[in-house]
Amino acid sequence: MLLFFGLGIFELGAQTCCSAGAPITSSFDISGSEIKGFAFRFDYEYNSVNLLIDNNKKLVNDPRTRNGQSFVFKTDFSLNKNWAFSAFLPVVIQNRTTFSEEESATGLGDLTLLGQYTTYLKNNIELKWAGGIKLPTGHQYLQDNRGIVLSPDMQSGTGTLDFIGRMAFVKRHFLIQNLSNQTSISYRYNATNNHFGDQEKIAGRIFKFGNETQLTSAFSYLFVAKKWFIIPELGIQIRHTSPNQEQNADAPNSGGFWLRLPLGVQLKPNDRFSIRLFSEVPIFQNLEGLQITTNYKLGLSFGIKL
C-alpha cells in the first residue's frame, strides 16, 4: 500500500498565456499500478483567470472575466518496475465574458503520450525520468457566432506537436514516518503553428505558445482513519514561460514568472480507489506586461487501479 501513497502530488502542466490557454492541468505523474497493470483516472479542473496583473502589480477594473474547465481522461500502464506509460486526453471548455459578450468554446483537446523510466528505486527513494509528446488532436478552429476563428487561448488544442520532459525525485518517510516529498522539474517545448485556424483557408496566422519550465516540490502525509487513507498535500511551485510568439516575433503581454501554492487532499478507501480534491492559489507573479492570470484553480480527481 505504502508503495503508492503520495504519488498524486502535483505536477501541473498548464498551458497558459495572457488569457489562460488550454488548461491541460492533468498530472504528468504516472500512477504506480501493479506490474503489467492499468490505472485509470478522471480529472476535472476549474481554472479561474481573473487576476489582472501589470508586471507584478495587481490592477482593478478589468472588464473581462475568464475561466477554463477541463475534463481529462487518463490511462496509465506499468510494464515492469522500471517502465510505465501514460496517455491522457482532455475535453476543454473556455469561457470569456465581458459586459457585451459571452463567448464559450468547447472541444476535444490534445492527446498526450508519456513514457517514464524509474532509474532508482530503493531505500524509499525513487528517481524517475519521463518524456513524451502532445499530439495535435484538439480543435484549433472553434469560431464565434460571426464565423470568426477564436484566438489561440480560446481553442481546445494548439495544432502543434509539442515535447515534454520531466524528472522527479521522490523520498518516502522523509524525516518522519509517513511524510513524503516529491520534487520534480518539467519542461515543455511548444512548437510553432504556422497555419493557426487554417481549416482549408489561408488565414496565415503564425502562433506559438511560450515554452514552459516548472519546478514543484510538495509534501504529503499519510493518515489512517477508519480504514481510510487520508493524504493531505501541500507544495510550492515555480513556473516560468517564455513569451508567446505571433508572426515569429515575441508577443507582448505574454510569458512571465509565477510562484504558486498547490494544495489538496487524497482519500483512499483502499489501494485501488482514490479521490482527490486539489487547488492552487497564486502567491506572487512577475509577468511580461499586462495579463490576466489564474486567481485560483479547483479540481477533483477519481482514480482506479486494476
Binding site: C18, S19, D54, K57, L59, V60, N61, P63, R64, R96, T97, T98, F99, S100, E101, E103, D144, N145, R146, G147, I148, V149, L150, S151, P152, D153, M154, K201, I202, A203, G204, R205, I206, E246, Q247, A249, D250, A251, P252, N253, G289, L290
Partner: protein, 340 residues
C-alpha cells in the same frame, strides 16, 4: 386572428433570419478577421473622458504623441499613451459627437461621427482585427466597422461609410507649445492602467514585429514608418514623415484634386488641406505656432486649417479624408497606394 398570428410569427422568423444573415455577411475576407484575445470590450473604451489643462499634465514626455481636434474654438487632445490602452474614446467636441478611434497596431487615429443614421451611438472595441487593424463596433446595432476602410463591414449597417473629422497629430512638446490653453484627456479614465508603460514592447519601432498577418505585404517603405495617407475616391497617396526632414509645405495632386501637405519630422506632424487656389506660394513658418505657413499675400495658416491673419482671415480650408498611421497598414488596406 389566426391569420394575424401566423403573419406575426412568419415576420418574426424572417426578422431573426435576416438578422442572422447580416452577421454572416462580411465586406472584408472573413477568414482574415482575427480574434485578438481580450474579447469584445475586453479593451475598454473610455465613455466618460475627463480633461485637464496643459499645465496639469504630468504623465507625458515631450516625445510622446498626442492626437487632437480643433473645432469651434474647442481644442481637445488625446494622448497616445492613454489611447494605447483604450483604443476608443466616446466624446463630444462642442456640438460634435465623436468617437476617437485609435489602433495601436496600425498606429492610426481617426475621429468618427457618432451620429449614425441620425441617431447617436457609442463605439466599442470588438476585439477583432483585420490586417492588424481595429474593428470598432457600434453599440446601437452591434455592427462591426473597419477603422481604416472607414466603413461598416458586418451587421445591420453593413456597407455604410463612416463620416470622419480631421485630426492633428504631433509630439506633446509641440502640442503644449501650440495649444497651451487646450484641454487634454486625463488618466482618470475609470480604469487602473499604467499609462507610463507602452503595452506593446518594441512594436512601434521594430519593422519585423507584427502581431497578425498582413495581406498584402508592401515593403516599399519600412513597415513602421509613419505616413499620412490621403484617400480620394480610388486614388490614394502616402506622404512619409521622412519627406519632412526639413519642415515644408508641398503642393500636390491626388486623383486630379489639389492638396497642400505640410509637415515637420521634428514635431512629428503632417496635415493636409484641399488647395482651393486661395493660398499663393505657402511656405512653412513655425515661428509663431500654431501658425505653420504664410503665403505670398501674408495669409497665415494654422495647423487646424484656419487662416488666422491676412486678407483671407477667417477662412477655413477643407480637409480631405486623411490620417496618419504605420506604412504597412496603408500598403495592406490600399494596395498599390502611390507614394510621394
Amino acid at each position: 386572428m389566426k391569420k394575424l398570428l401566423l403573419f406575426a410569427s412568419f415576420s418574426l422568423v424572417l426578422l431573426v433570419a435576416c438578422k442572422k444573415e447580416n452577421f454572416s455577411e462580411w465586406l472584408i475576407p472573413q477568414d482574415e478577421v482575427q480574434d485578438g484575445g481580450p474579447g469584445k470590450d475586453g479593451i475598454p473604451s473610455v465613455d466618460n473622458p475627463r480633461f485637464i489643462s496643459v499645465d496639469e499634465v504630468d504623465f507625458l514626455s515631450d516625445d510622446d504623441l498626442i492626437v487632437g481636434m480643433s473645432y469651434k474654438g474647442v481644442i481637445k487632445g488625446y494622448p497616445h499613451p492613454i489611447m494605447d490602452w483604450h483604443e476608443i474614446v466616446n466624446d463630444e467636441v462642442d456640438d460634435r459627437q465623436i468617437a476617437l478611434t485609435y489602433c495601436p497596431l496600425t498606429g492610426t487615429a481617426i475621429a468618427w461621427n457618432r451620429m449614425v443614421d441620425g441617431r447617436t451611438t457609442t463605439f466599442g472595441v470588438s476585439g477583432k482585427l483585420y490586417n492588424n487593424n481595429l474593428i470598432p463596433y457600434d453599440r446601437e446595432t452591434d455592427s462591426y466597422w473597419s477603422q481604416i476602410n472607414l466603413n461598416c463591414v458586418n451587421g445591420e449597417r453593413i456597407g455604410m461609410k463612416a463620416e470622419i473629422f480631421p485630426l492633428m497629430e504631433m509630439t506633446w512638446g509641440s502640442w503644449k507649445a501650440m495649444f497651451p490653453d487646450s484641454e487634454v484627456m486625463s488618466t482618470e479614465t475609470g480604469f487602473s492602467r499604467n499609462y507610463n508603460n507602452y503595452p506593446y514592447g518594441d512594436y512601434r519601432t521594430n519593422n519585423n514585429s507584427y502581431l497578425f498577418p498582413r495581406n498584402p505585404i508592401d515593403d516599399r517603405l519600412p513597415g513602421k514608418e509613419r505616413v499620412l495617407g490621403i484617400l480620394n475616391s480610388d486614388n490614394n497617396k502616402a506622404y512619409s514623415i521622412t519627406n519632412f526632414e526639413e519642415p515644408k509645405a508641398i503642393y500636390d495632386s491626388v486623383g486630379g484634386e489639389d492638396f497642400i501637405i505640410i509637415g515637420s519630422k521634428e514635431a512629428r506632424f503632417i496635415v493636409a488641406f484641399e488647395d482651393n487656389g486661395q493660398l499663393d506660394g505657402l511656405t512653412f513658418n513655425a515661428a509663431d505656432l500654431p501658425i505653420i505657413g504664410t503665403d505670398a499675400n501674408g495669409n497665415q495658416l494654422d495647423i487646424s486649417g484656419e487662416i488666422v491673419a491676412g486678407p483671407l482671415a477667417g477662412t477655413k480650408l477643407d480637409s480631405p479624408d486623411a490620417f496618419i498611421g504605420y506604412w504597412f497598414s496603408f500598403g495592406a488596406f490600399y494596395p498599390g497606394i502611390e507614394i510621394y
